[in-house]
Symmetry: C2
Subunit: 152 residues, 2 copies
């Protein structure tokens, strides 16, 4: 078995995008807008810069997704009182109404994938994935390769 | 802990893309070209349609990546003798020469992420991820949500 975290995660990610584009269609959303609206739902008043950093999505892609979410009336932008160059993004009342439906679609994917696998093994997988996510959370991943090459 | 396979996989995928873009830079490759060249290395003479289906990447994105790999002299296209509308993609000698360096970069990411985690837990994670990948391999993931809604 060719066990590469990158390979397995990439396959699961792309399959998830196909699923999400279908599952989100009736909510008028795309897979690329999902991480943005989920993040704003959990962090009211976040800036686009913060999202770009936390989600590891480039600023241009964040800006595009925020614009389409604005057009759809799901989020709104306001000037940050403390930093006039920054915007604070919040979810509209319409946006809040789809939160349950979004979570339901994410949950269904998880249930579909983990069905028929022993619960203790699924728990171990979550534990290991969470350790890896935590390890990367505040990391500039470009540095991982740069530091590796320095040590050679 | 908010255990969603989709969420965890998406974070790890995006972090991996940032790492790969850095690690592949000196090889003149981008993260989006990587799955294509890896697939062609393992399946000499594959068609773009097959790749699109197996990798769950849309045909336009496959075509773009194949074009840039052609320009870089890493792959070549030839007409399929049995189906004149299809192309067979193969790796050039130059392409074959970077295979080791590609695998080294994938391996380093895996090593970095799994370091300091108990081996038996990492093995369990691989086993569960592989079960999920197998479950999705020949699946049109749009059907997963469509069938779910039918049952409601």
């Amino acid at each position: 078995m060719d066990n590469s975290v990158g390979r397995l995660v990439s396959i699961l990610y792309r399959k998830n995008q196909v699923y999400l584009n279908e599952a989100l269609k009736e909510l008028g959303l795309t897979a690329s807008e999902l991480p943005i609206i989920i993040y704003v739902l959990k962090h009211e008043g976040v800036s686009q810069e913060e999202m770009a950093q936390f989600l590891s999505i480039d600023k241009a892609a964040i800006a595009r997704a925020v614009d389409t979410l604005l057009e759809k009336g799901l989020v709104q932008k306001e000037k940050d009182e403390l930093d006039r160059r920054a915007n604070k993004i919040t979810v509209t009342e319409v946006g809040k109404k789809i939160e349950f439906a979004l979570n339901q679609r994410l949950l269904y994917w998880t249930q579909y994938l983990t069905k028929d696998i022993e619960e203790k093994d699924v728990d171990t997988m979550y534990r290991v994935l969470n350790i890896m996510v935590d390890k990367l959370e505040h990391k500039d991943c470009r540095e991982i390769w740069r530091n590796h090459t320095c040590q050679e």
